[in-house]
Amino acid sequence: MAHAVISCLHANHAALEAVLADIDQQGIDTITCLGDLVGYGPQPNEVVELIRQRAIPTCQGCWDEDIIEGLNACDCSYPSQLAERRGHLAHQWTADQLSEENKDFLANLPMSLRRDRLLFVHGSPNSQHEYLLPNMDAFAALERVETAEADTLFCGHTHHPYVRELRDGSIRVRVQEGVASGGPSEEREINLPVRRIINAGSVGEPRHGNTNATYVIHDEQTGTVEIREVAYDVERTCRAIVESGLPAIFAWRLRHGFEYAERADDASHVCER
């Protein structure tokens, strides 16, 4: 059965509509959402309501968490003062706009969703704020999937869609125990299982080089994964940004396919908060 996974809608209603239409057109009726319904974009209530109306199972994203809990993202996740100030401004604006009912909905989203050996999270199984980048250390990436007891891990948060397969892994160790130093040691080799990480990209805030929305379709029978790109009415969202009183620079950045505020270079970093 083919199912669609979407992530990082970021209050972009036109993009979400276009992606849902693309999914409907293919006759797919199982959709999972990996969070970040709001943040930066101009239509937080509309986007949350559309997800609620279509009853799409959703896990909580970093923005969804922060809007409820107060800013949780550490300063070190912003690469510059400019990015940080813009992030805070967007946070404040979104918090003011969201209805209590929609805030409640975001507050009660689960950290993860599980269907058999498929696990759905926003950032990583450890945190909504951890980035699993495509070039992350392969053992560390495998550890995330293994520790979470999944075969395939779906994540978002990086806004960069990809499919990563980790295979033919092994680790050899020499173990020495006990008080006596230089005592007997034991050699062991473990073979690591094949695991996959599938990043769904971003519907509402592209970071992959152009303005298209991205999401993925996974076929459980065949194991194939398709990364879909969907064009949408970017100008409609840009107009809404300006009309809503958000900074015009957000519209300019969206129109040119740049994320609203840059993310830190060392995105794998998790702050010890």
């Binding site: 053992f139 092994s170 050899r172 173990v175 130093s181």
Partner: protein
């Protein structure tokens, strides 16, 4: 190069600490003493040991301390960890253990405990109570090598000294690798990665401690009061 002594898990046992200090007085070339947490515990009053760590006697090595799992629980229960309380302790050992822990430490020591750090990085070694993930991470000889490799990678160090399990052990990563294939909108990339040569060392607890020589990368698992053993191996 001078050597390090690494201890942990004293849980208020001043006698064990004195026995280790006595040992170290007779061990050559040890100039640094690291205490990787759990200096407190609920089983006995810890004030004497805490005072001693803060005011070493003449001729004793001055300890460099981290907080451990027990300190973290106490700090949480006393409101030093935001909204978090000693929930892990409460869940595993019940309310009486929480009360006993509160009784075991005079509130006057809280300032000193609150200042303790999570870890030290010395040369290419990470010194931690648990692991780079959390203070409660219990690494032991049976831990998954994949998990160990992840914990080493997070700190970008070659050696990780840990204390949480209380065991003395060494696990060396000696070989292996993994294949990774990434497909995105730009295309497909292949990557072959080898296991880096790295090591996790459990330093022990209480009178069981570890001496490490960064110059030769040699370490020894010891127990305080058994110096004769050590001499027999030609260590000193």
């Amino acid at each position: 190069m001078a050597r390090w002594a690494l201890i942990s898990g004293l849980r208020g046992d001043l006698e064990a600490y004195e026995a280790i200090q006595e040992d170290l007085r007779h061990t050559r070339r040890v100039d640094t003493l690291f205490v990787l947490g759990d200096v407190i515990g609920p089983a006995r009053n810890c004030d004497a040991l805490l005072s001693r760590l803060q005011q070493p006697r003449r001729g004793e090595l001055r300890p460099q301390c981290l907080y451990g799992w027990w300190e973290d629980q106490l700090l949480a229960e006393r409101g030093y960890r935001g909204g978090r309380r000693a929930d892990a302790l409460r869940l595993s050992q019940g309310e009486t253990a929480v009360d006993a822990l509160l009784q075991a430490v005079d509130p006057g020591h809280m300032g000193w405990l609150a200042e303790l750090q999570f870890g030290f990085i010395e040369l290419d070694c990470a010194l931690l109570h648990g692991s780079s993930a959390t203070v409660e991470d219990s690494l032991g000889p049976d831990s998954s090598p994949l998990l160990l490799l992840d914990r080493l990678t997070r700190m970008e160090v070659n050696r990780l000294f840990t204390a949480r399990s209380g065991q003395q052990f060494s696990i060396e990563l000696t070989g292996g690798g993994i294949e990774s294939q990434v497909r995105d909108l730009e295309g497909q990339r292949h990557q072959q990665q080898s296991v880096p040569k790295r090591q996790v060392i459990g330093i022990g607890a209480g009178v069981h401690y570890t001496i490490y020589d960064p110059g030769t990368d040699r370490f020894d698992f010891l127990a305080a009061g058994s110096r004769s053993q050590e001499r027999a191996r030609g260590f000193a």
